[in-house]
């Protein structure tokens, strides 16, 4: 695959949420609002690119028997560094992303890409894969977040920390509270996954028929 294909793969064909179905814990928790999804996606992309690059750099040094513990240590270290550096140098952004940053460590996407891609490809390709997957993740969170936030609260893009109180479509009392709670997360994800699977299948039938 060339560089552009690697990138596109992460965003569409092998979208981590909608096609690989990874990182579900973080997705379900964070997709309750669009801004939350964007913040999480951004932080995850940074860690994903960084850890992919470092693991790719060390791919010939790490024996395969201990690759998983090695990856976990590397990913956790990287996440903690990002967390600390942001807390010290960009306190306002850190406060907004706050709890999402430690949550990245439990996001399976990073370990999965380390194992499936970074350990077998060059540093540049791994970086691009990380970028594609990260953006695919962010895109998916945005789609889910839009549905959940809109139906659940009637507003979109509430970003209180940036002084923006969102675009209101209908009053909060008319919102479906379920959508911003966990059952709504599952339901929304399930329906979107079903829709995408149907669409992919139709495309395949068209290509084969």
């Amino acid at each position: 695959m060339n560089k552009w294909q690697i990138f596109k793969n992460g965003v569409f064909n092998e979208n981590p949420i909608f096609r690989l179905v990874l990182g579900m814990c973080a997705t379900l928790a964070v997709s309750s609002a669009v801004v939350n999804g964007l913040g999480m996606g951004l932080a995850t992309t940074v860690v994903l690119v960084g850890s992919n690059m470092i693991i790719s750099l060390m791919r010939n040094v790490i024996p395969k028997e201990i690759r998983i513990p090695a990856y976990v240590v590397i990913i956790a270290t990287f996440t903690t560094i990002v967390d600390k550096v942001m807390a010290a140098s960009t306190p306002d952004l850190h406060k907004v992303l706050g709890i999402f940053i430690p949550l990245i460590v439990v996001n399976c996407i990073i370990l999965a890409r380390a194992e499936a891609f970074a350990s077998k490809n060059t540093v540049i390709d791994s970086a691009i894969d990380g970028l594609g997957m990260g953006i695919g993740f962010t895109l998916a969170l945005t789609v889910l977040g839009t549905v959940r936030e809109l139906l659940g609260t009637g507003t979109l893009l509430v970003a209180k920390d940036f002084g923006f109180s969102g675009i209101t479509f209908f009053p909060k009392e008319n919102g479906v509270l379920l959508m911003i709670l966990q059952p709504g997360a599952f339901i929304t994800l399930g329906l979107v996954l079903a829709g995408i699977n149907w669409w992919v299948r139709k495309k395949e039938e068209k290509n084969n028929g």
Partner: protein
């Protein structure tokens, strides 16, 4: 053979040691700045919770008195001054929230009125519990014009405070902290008058 296992142990140990070393270094570099920012945020919160004061002095002895009266979630107490005049009290309360310890700054003016409530640290549920930090919750009507003789409760518990939708536990925690601060302020202000 044994040589192979040894290699695995050595490589993993090296990775962990290097990671530990890097983290220790990053920590030593960033920790002072993180602490400085926490101090700044605390000062800002003290000021916002009692706008009438310009200087704040910590009072440990009075705090013990407050603890003995049962208000054990209050971890710090400041007297707010403007020039030499006492303008009120500021409490720092640590209350157990839904998924974290919520640190509150609560200001009570010298005439016994609740002057301000701020949240300076928490790790509640994103999108839900986190909303206790917003002005919509902290500056709601039920938290205005509250005197130190009052005790508050969320609507579910028969009171006037509107909890954050879907985050009753977080909201109740804030109310608990505020109530302790009110009770403590009442105690101290009454004592001063006598």
């Amino acid at each position: 053979m044994v040589k192979k296992e040894l290699r695995l142990v050595i490589v993993l140990t090296i990775i962990c040691v290097v990671a530990g070393g890097i983290l220790a270094w990053v920590n030593s570099v960033t920790e002072p700045r993180i602490q400085a920012q926490a101090e700044l945020a605390k000062k800002k919160a003290l000021q916002e919770s009692l706008p009438a004061a310009s200087e704040f002095r910590s009072e440990q002895l009075l705090l013990e008195q407050v603890h003995q009266a049962g208000n054990t979630n209050l971890s710090e107490l400041f007297i707010g001054y403007h020039e030499t005049e006492k303008r009120g009290l500021v409490f720092i309360a640590d209350v157990r929230g839904y998924s974290s310890t919520i640190r509150l700054v609560i200001g009570v003016s010298a005439d016994g009125q609740l002057a301000g409530v701020k949240v300076i640290s928490q790790a509640e549920t994103p999108g839900l519990g986190v909303k206790i930090t917003e002005r919509d919750f902290l500056e709601q009507p039920a938290l205005q014009r509250v005197s130190s003789a009052d005790q508050l409760a969320v609507v579910k518990d028969g009171g006037n405070v509107q909890a954050v939708t879907g985050a009753t536990i977080s909201s109740r925690a804030v109310v608990r902290g505020v109530n302790q601060a009110l009770a403590a302020a009442h105690l101290l202000l009454e004592a001063k008058e006598q």
